[in-house]
C-alpha cells in the first residue's frame, strides 16, 4: 500500500510526518536540528530516501544536512556557498548599492534523475548547484550577471531565490523566482537567463510593468504541462501558457489576491490551490477564517474550501514554500501555518484536518508519495 511522508521545516527544527495511503493516522518524528531554522526539506525524486535540509541560524550560519535513509538519520555536507567572480552589487532597501552576500538557503530542488544533483536557491538571490550530493556547491553566475541583477532589491523577507522548477521533459530548462526581482528562465541549464515578467503589473514599483522588480511569491507547474505556470505574486494570481513569455491575471473572484503559497493538483493540471491572505500589511486570512481557494478551470473562477479549517479567530499566515500535494488518488493537499499547524486534505481539498497543531511556525512543507 502506498504511503506519504510529509517533510516540514519550521522556525525551530524539522519534522517528518508519515501515514499510510489512507492518511488518517500520522506518526510524527522530530524535531531534527532542534532550535535551528529549517527553511526547507526536500526529497530526491530519483531516490526517495535521499533528503536535503537547509539548517540556518542567525548565530551560526548555514548548514546543509543530508539524509540517505528517508530522514531517520542525517549528516552535514557542504556549506561553502561562494559567489563566482566579481561579486558586484544589488540595491538595498534604500536604493543604495550593496554587495551580494550569502545569507541562507531558502529552497532545495533535487534533480529528477540523479539524487546527487541538487540545486539551491539562496539569499542574496542566486542559484547554486551540487553534483556530489551537497558536498560542494558551484554558483550558476549567469543568473546574477545576466544584466538586471544590479537593480534587484530585497523583499521584506530578504532578497531570496525561493522557487526552482525544472521542465520534466528537459531539465536544462529551468524556471526560478526571486523576491523582489521576478521570474527568470534558462533554456540551457543555467548558462544564460532572461526575465520572464511580461504581463505582470505591480503598483508598488515606479514602473508597474517593468522588466524586473516584481515581488513574485511563488511559481507552480504541473509536470504534464511545463509551459503552463501559475504564480502567486505579492498581489495578483497569474498564469502563463507559453513558458513565461506572457502572463495574464487569473485572480477572478478571489476575495483577496494577496498570498504566498500556490500549488497544482497532482492529476488535474487545471486545478489550482491558493491561500488568500488579507493584504501585504496584514498577513493573515480575511475575517479570521482560514480558507483554501481552488480553481478547477485554471484560474478566474475560485471556490472556497473551509471544511475542517478554523472559521473564526484564525490569524496565521501560510508562507510561500508551505504547501504541497501528494500523488495519491484522491490527491492529498497539505499546508503549514505560522501558528504551527499542518493541515491535510485526503480528498483534494473537500475536507481538512490538522496532522499536528502545535509545531513551531512552519516555513516549508513538502510531500513524498512512497510505494
Amino acid at each position: 500500500m502506498s504511503s506519504v511522508r510529509v517533510l516540514v521545516g519550521t522556525r525551530k527544527g524539522a519534522f517528518v510526518l508519515e501515514a499510510d495511503g489512507k492518511r488518517n493516522e500520522w506518526k510524527v518524528d522530530g524535531p531534527f536540528f532542534a532550535g535551528w531554522e529549517i527553511y526547507h526539506v526536500n526529497a530526491s525524486p530519483a531516490d526517495p530516501n535521499r533528503l536535503y535540509a537547509s539548517q540556518t541560524s542567525g548565530w551560526f550560519g548555514q548548514q546543509v544536512q543530508r539524509s540517505d535513509d528517508g530522514g531517520k538519520t542525517w549528516n552535514p555536507v557542504g556549506n561553502a556557498f561562494t559567489y563566482e567572480g566579481a561579486v558586484g552589487t544589488h540595491q538595498w532597501y534604500d536604493g543604495t548599492p550593496r554587495p551580494w552576500e550569502f545569507k541562507r538557503v531558502w529552497h532545495f530542488e533535487p534533480s529528477g534523475s540523479d539524487p546527487d544533483v541538487v540545486y539551491a536557491g539562496v539569499e542574496d538571490a542566486s542559484l547554486f548547484r551540487s553534483a556530489d550530493g551537497g558536498k560542494t556547491w558551484c554558483e550558476l553566475p549567469a543568473l546574477r550577471n545576466h544584466g538586471t541583477g544590479a537593480s534587484w532589491q530585497p523583499g521584506a523577507g530578504g532578497m531570496c531565490l525561493h522557487t526552482i522548477l525544472f521542465d520534466p521533459n528537459d531539465e536544462r530548462r529551468i524556471f526560478v523566482a526571486i523576491s523582489a526581482a521576478g521570474a527568470f528562465r534558462s533554456d540551457d541549464a543555467g548558462a544564460s537567463w532572461r526575465p520572464i515578467n511580461r504581463g505582470l503589473v505591480s503598483q508598488y514599483i515606479p514602473e508597474p510593468d517593468a522588466e524586473v522588480g516584481h515581488c513574485v511569491h511563488r511559481l507552480a507547474m504541473h509536470p504534464s504541462r511545463p509551459n503552463v505556470l501559475f504564480m502567486q505574486k505579492h498581489w495578483d494570481v497569474m498564469r502563463t501558457d507559453d513558458g513565461g513569455e506572457q502572463w495574464r491575471e487569473i485572480s477572478g473572484n478571489l476575495p483577496t489576491d494577496f498570498g504566498f503559497a500556490i500549488d497544482v493538483h497532482a492529476h488535474e493540471p487545471d486545478t489550482v490551490y491558493v491561500v488568500p491572505i488579507k493584504s501585504d500589511s496584514e498577513h493573515f486570512p480575511l475575517d479570521g477564517r482560514l480558507r483554501v481557494y481552488r480553481s478547477r478551470s485554471g484560474g478566474d473562477e475560485w471556490e472556497a474550501l473551509e471544511n475542517g479549517l478554523p472559521q473564526r479567530d484564525c490569524y496565521v499566515n501560510v508562507l510561500r514554500d508551505a504547501m504541497a500535494v501528494d500523488e495519491l488518488d484522491a490527491c492529498g493537499i497539505y499546508f503549514g501555518t505560522t501558528g504551527g499547524q499542518v493541515y491535510a486534505s485526503a480528498d483534494s481539498g473537500e475536507s481538512w484536518k490538522a496532522i499536528v497543531r502545535d509545531l513551531p511556525a512552519v516555513l516549508s512543507v513538502e510531500v513524498q508519495t512512497l510505494p
Binding site: G58, W59, F60, Q62, Q63, A80
Partner: protein, 98 residues
Amino acid sequence: MIRVVLPAHLRALARVDGELSLEVGDAATQSTVLDALEARYPVLQGAIRDRVSKRRRPFVRFFACERDLSHESPDAPLPSRVVAGEEPFLIVGAIAGG
C-alpha cells in the same frame, strides 16, 4: 592543551559532549585555536567565523578569564591561564532573538 567550550548548538553540530581539548602549539591565539577546532571538526567551518575573511560571526563571542576577548586581534596571544589549561576558552552564542 587549550580547553574550549562550545555553545550547545555547536556541540550538537560537532557531536561532542562537554569541554574539548585542543593542541595548538606554542602560539595560542584565537586564530590558531579556531584553526585547530575547524581542522578537527570541519562541520564548524563557517559557523564561528566567516570561511573566507575569517571574521567572527556577529552573534558569536569569545570569553576567557572573565573577559570578553571578542574584539581583540585574532592573532593576539590568549591569556596565560588559557594557554596553561587553567581556564577554558569560551565560544558563546550572544543573547539575542527569541
